[in-house]
Symmetry: C2
Subunit: 230 residues, 2 copies
């Protein structure tokens, strides 16, 4: 029987590709998604579409209201930056950074993995075409994995080893798209925009949209999702 | 002005003592408490009493439903063990273990610390008179602190260092109680029991009660809280 793996699924392009990689590597994927008060709540619907289309074993959608903590343009009343060029994106960690988001998400993934008797967690972090978030870097993931192996009953009393898989971490966005298309991923199901219309149309101007559009352009394929006409 | 510190506050004896230590060390304590679906929900009321009595700067009570994840006698329909002796307690990690609980709690503390511009987190873990939970041990805390320093904008872009304080980690329960009494802690406000009556009377027989009662006995003082008459 295939071993279970917990896959963090946001409904975006990267996490859908990561889910496809987990399946291709022979894991039975159990997807976990967070309704954390993000302004782009339509990504939850995207995550549900993706989970269904990819035939996950289970899909857990957790409500964790990070608006209570705040500190980010994604969860508080702060404008999402638009039309930034690459130099602006590289100049620092932007206001869309959510304090400790991946640390919070991964901690739930760790708890669920233990209950599922799974020893593998997949996360679609990327440290190439990204917004400079510290919790997407390889050194962060390595330190998190080391901590996690000291944290649970399964890995201490049980003596087993938990692994965090980051199949996209050193790929460009174009490489990610090519890899996903090879695996048959339908990117029309995904949602990437930080500031979509209520019916899910992407703005085409936030960092996330700009990185996505550049990726499709470099991969030489058309992006199948709808963008707001301006 | 005193620097802020985030203090994890359950409403139990250890966390109240930790809060008193944080104050005595000159920090302005901001307490964080989790309503996580624990059967001993009366501890939330204890945390509120303690926070008020200790004059914290802020008290954040977060709802995070760990029953969705399960796997513990504290959040699922599994009996809490009673009347265990020390050998039984030392024989392994008990069913009251909650998968990745401290990892989840600390991840929220990290997010809140960043928003508060705090660089200090206090947690009342103890690795002497405890139930053998892996996420209470010093090696776990050290690995968590290392991970946290790679996780946030404050500690990477900002170049500052976050510290996790564990003032109780190598104290016996009797030492913890003596330290708290020196600092003027009123343990009558706390709640420790895993399986209290709805009006908050302690069972006196779960591991948490037994460790507490032994601590008061060894410290040579009476425990001021009410125990269920059997």
């Amino acid at each position: 029987m295939s071993p279970k793996a917990v896959v963090l699924l946001s409904g975006g392009l990267d996490s859908m590709t990561t889910l496809a990689v987990a399946k291709a590597e022979g894991f039975l994927p159990c997807a976990i998604t967070f309704r954390y008060g993000q302004r782009h709540g339509v990504e939850i619907q995207a995550a549900e579409r993706v989970a269904r289309a990819m035939g996950v074993a289970e899909h857990l959608v957790l409500d964790i209201d990070l608006r209570r903590i705040g500190g980010s343009a994604l969860t508080a009343d702060i404008d999402v930056p638009k039309d930034r060029d690459r130099d602006e994106m590289d100049a620092g960690i932007p206001v869309t950074y959510v304090p400790a988001r991946n640390t919070i998400f991964l901690s739930y993934a760790l708890a669920w993995a233990e209950v599922l008797d799974a020893l593998d967690i997949f996360i679609g972090v990327n440290a190439v075409d990204y917004s400079g978030y510290p919790d997407c870097r390889p050194e962060y993931i390595a330190a998190w994995e080391r901590m996690a192996n000291l944290a649970t009953k399964a890995t201490t009393e049980g003596g087993r080893r938990l692994r965090v898989h980051t199949p996209l971490i050193d790929l460009t966005k174009a490489d990610i798209i090519r890899r996903g298309l090879e695996l048959g991923v339908d990117y029309g199901l995904t949602s990437t925009c930080y500031d979509p219309t209520p019916d899910g149309e992407a703005c085409g101007r936030c960092d996330a949209c700009l990185l996505r559009l550049k990726g499709f352009e470099e991969a030489g394929v058309a992006d199948p999702i709808a963008y707001r006409s301006t």
